[in-house]
């Protein structure tokens, strides 16, 4: 069975500082990995995805993530955050044939001025 662990429920950070949101997964087969962002009172929006190929993937709003197969991780990073990045971030995993994505419990990013 697949599972996703987001180690930090909340991450406070000052504006223009770098940030890393951690995501670890467990799966016995090759996986596809996703990061979604949820702004207040909205649905989830795809930030980026890893399907195959280069392990460093770039997404929208200056975010990037690195797939590390040996550590079964897919951490999300941004070199300089803005107030507007304040939101909830969800990591998710899938493999071919699964019925749906498996989501982590989410990380609330709080950017302070």
């Amino acid at each position: 069975a697949q599972s996703v662990t987001q180690l930090d429920s909340q991450v406070p950070v000052f504006e223009e500082a770098p940030v890393e949101l951690r995501c670890n997964y467990s799966s016995s087969v090759s996986v596809y990995l996703f990061w979604y962002v949820q702004y207040p009172n909205q649905g989830l929006q795809l930030l980026l995805k890893y399907l195959s190929g280069s392990t460093l993937v770039k997404g929208i709003n200056g975010f990037e993530a690195e797939f590390n197969k040996s550590q079964t991780s897919f951490h999300l990073r941004k070199p300089s955050v803005h107030i507007s990045d304040t939101a909830e971030y969800f990591c998710a995993v899938s493999d071919r044939g699964r019925r749906a994505l498996t989501f982590g419990s989410g990380t609330r990013l709080q950017v302070q001025p």
Binding site: Q38, G43, L44, L46, L51, S94
Partner: protein, 115 residues
């Protein structure tokens, strides 16, 4: 423009009322999903559908029911709403087929409050 829609966005209703949350998509996707999201953020899959006339229960037991009579429409119904049903409900869709990665596209959500 291809999109996924949910109505209403907000609903406040009394205990015992029957409600239907609407979800429609113009993405041309076969697979559709309903999630319930706690105040603590975690998403729980409550229903999914592979296509017309196909519906399955998700990981979290729910008193709601769903139907899939048309590809683009996946409504969720609560026959008798209770305060324990207060939550945010998110609808999503994805492609199906051998090349599907299960990338899901989400609607804006319905925030339900049962008094």
């Amino acid at each position: 423009e291809a999109d996924i829609y949910q109505t209403p966005r907000y609903l406040v209703i009394g205990t015992g009322k029957k409600i239907t949350l609407e979800c429609s998509q113009t993405m041309g996707h076969d697979k559709m999903y309903w999630y319930q999201q706690d105040p603590g953020m975690e998403l729980h899959l409550i229903h999914y559908s592979y296509g017309v006339n196909s519906t399955e229960k998700g990981d979290l037991s729910s008193e709601s029911t769903v139907s899939r009579i048309r590809t683009e429409h996946f409504p969720l119904t609560l026959e008798s709403a209770r305060p324990s049903h207060t939550s945010q409900y998110l609808c999503a869709s994805s492609e199906s087929g051998p090349s599907s990665y299960n990338e899901q596209f989400f609607g804006p959500g319905t925030r339900l409050t049962v008094l």
